[in-house]
Symmetry: C2
Subunit: 418 residues, 2 copies
């Protein structure tokens, strides 16, 4: 397959820039991010004009309202981006952090030190704020980034990347540290994911189909931010009011995102006291339920769940419901049908909680918390580049730290191998 | 492509076993590894008989002496394997280790905890001790493992895996935690690397060609333990005797391994005082030199290096030599031609050392040490599953800890997303 020569030259420029970004002091990176933050507000008219073009095209193509809402920018949303950049600037620099340090028995001083990955390819869809936040997190970690957003937000992304690039360049960061692929043919994504000589990591954030497609073709390692089939398990000794609030929040607060609940598991010992009441509240909130036989006896009139419902990521006001007989059954169901994203147990019983937290093999396992709380901001980690369901390198909410690697630095006095 | 049904059933058994190994206490894992250690010594006649078959076949095929040496087992080598298992048993259990712990501002108690990866596919060549050490490290980290060794060591590997499996089963570990693929067709490797539903990680340890081939086809993430184009840079303020000893050790102590030196870089300010002398010692040790113009003036009669020599991994008594004018030139050469494995500066100048250690983008960067010292044992980390040149997840010497992932465990009191 012939690589697009323009893309190749972009990748080479990015690699060149990454050698310089790797050596930047935290002070310069801070100044650059603050300058970018200011520039967004200063040039917001340019951003909003570009966004208006994208919106007009998207409306013409009759995209749904939820889609248009994600694409849309106004002065408030631009300010929110500017604030995110300030927050990232204020975070601790991960580069140079000594992860561990010890002396070998031969007297060698060994350290494991965080260092930048190099060039990051960021592939994402729709929301233009990702352009700015991804660029900022990559720079914070000493990397250069090649951005490839969706075609429908190209004008917005281009305006944002131009402003960001010029602002960091004014502070001594190479302008090539942030490059945007403007050609939105899909082949360009595949080409990018195959440039293992130049690109060190691909981050793919979008639909499951998109992430899988890239993962299959890539020779560059891919961090996929994919499917969220999240569960809430209401144990027999749950505090029922808390359980109701968590279930309602996890399903309805923002149903279209990856950390929203898709399946509710309820212990048979408490199902009679819990399901009818929560069923009414969910129905009032507009949620359509699909239940197994046991739950349909307690919430009459709901649709019967089929085998297809258990692994489904609805991203909508739909909820699968199942009654289980034990914590272990809940754990087995989640490990079998879940996507390893975020799963919660609601219980007042410490030993049930422990069994669940140990047994569920997911990026985040919660006790008495809404699945929606799996978020870099809520965790206090600052902006996140996504939530990884991969098990290697970065699992769960992913910030600047996960955009680094480590290297061993060892200092000796002439030791040789015997 | 149709997956071999036998392989698929093996993978499913391994997945099933991994759910149990994940929950094992350190106590049981320790007992199992000690039992395996004892069993190797007890049944060494069986192992040596199997190895004799492999050796006879390999001799018939006229494999070179270095190859036969790697394949060969005697009672001493079996005892060394048994000792390695004791050491791994004694290591700290990585599973359950709390990597970090904090409270969010909403009062959520958040921990990041090490947990097993699941099923590991281990693809390797020739040396039979890898069978036992890989199985032990995977088990220590709470994983199950599917082993796929080279066809030439099949009898030895089978004997070792059988003894290991039976011994751990006697201590309550599922026998399926360690499975060996006996079919040595290459297609089986590709199939294994495509079973992303069942296998969580592939470790590929062997020739560069083998690792690249797997990486290209895999949908399971691959940790490649590949090419080592290691450098020693002798700075202008190097202690010359130390530099000579390091160069000799790095090139000749064991030239066929990944952490042996392949290129020697010498600062022009010291080349006249260093190269003629070290050239004589290297020649005496049987090393053939290939130099750039500047070094050929100082070591007459050596072959001229071409562009092909700089990225070459000779794995033999051959050494490329080049004179550079600064630390920065050395760093640039290494980042351009090296493989990101292990690179050393020899210098008495702290600021040169710092510049080199920061600038070289490799898994390990050394100051006044032989490249051969990049080793889990030397570092005090115990047995290693290999040295990773990947930047993601595991970089450098890789032990049981890198065979885990982390998960977030968060405990709340009913917090929901506002």
């Amino acid at each position: 397959m012939k690589i697009n020569p323009k893309l190749l030259s972009l990748a080479k420029r990015s690699k060149e820039a990454s050698r310089k970004t790797a050596m930047l002091s935290d002070e310069i990176k801070k100044r650059a991010l603050k300058a970018a933050s200011k520039a967004l507000v200063e040039f917001d008219a340019k951003i909003l004009a570009a966004n208006a073009k994208d919106m007009a095209l998207a409306k013409k193509k009759k995209y749904p309202a939820s889609y248009l809402d994600r694409l849309f920018l106004d002065a408030g949303r631009v300010e929110a981006m500017a604030r995110a950049l300030e927050e990232i600037a204020a975070q601790k620099d991960p580069v140079g952090e000594v992860v561990e340090e010890w002396n070998s028995k031969d007297g060698i001083k060994i350290k494991r030190v965080r260092s930048p990955l190099g060039v990051i390819g960021m592939i994402y869809e729709s929301r233009p704020n990702v352009t700015v936040e991804a660029a900022a997190l990559c720079l914070k970690a000493g990397n250069s980034v090649i951005l490839r957003g969706g075609s429908e937000s190209l004008n917005s992304n281009k305006a944002l990347a131009d402003i960001f690039s010029a602002a960091i360049a004014s502070q001594g960061v190479p302008a090539d540290a942030v490059l945007l692929i403007e050609n939105t043919e899909r082949k360009n994504i595949y080409d990018l994911a195959g440039l293992d000589e130049w690109v060190d990591l691909i981050i793919a954030r979008g639909s499951e189909e998109m992430v899988n497609d890239i993962q299959k073709r890539a020779t560059v390692p891919v961090l996929g931010h994919g499917k969220g089939v999240c569960h809430v398990f209401v144990d027999k000794s749950a505090a029922l009011v808390m359980a109701e609030d968590i279930v309602l929040n996890a399903k309805t607060q923002r149903p279209g995102v990856c950390n929203a609940m898709e399946t509710l598991l309820v212990h048979s010992g408490i199902a009679k006291g819990f399901l009818p009441a929560v069923g009414i509240r969910l129905a009032k909130a507009g949620v359509a339920l699909r239940g197994d036989d046991a739950s349909r006896k307690l919430i009459p009139g709901i649709q019967k769940a089929t085998e297809k419902d258990w692994p489904a990521e609805y991203l909508d006001l739909i909820l699968a419901v199942k009654v289980v007989d034990s914590v272990d059954q809940a754990v087995d169901h989640i490990n079998r049908y879940g996507s390893g994203h975020t799963d919660t147990i609601v219980t007042e019983d410490a030993s049930s909680a422990e069994r669940f937290l140990k047994g569920v093999d997911s990026a985040a396992v919660f006790h008495n918390l809404s699945t929606r709380m799996h978020d870099g901001g809520v965790f206090g980690l600052g902006a996140e580049i996504g939530i990884s369901t991969a098990k290697l390198h970065a699992r769960g909410t992913t910030g600047a730290r996960e955009l680094t690697t480590t290297k061993y630095i060892a200092e000796g006095t002439g030791q040789i191998r015997k």
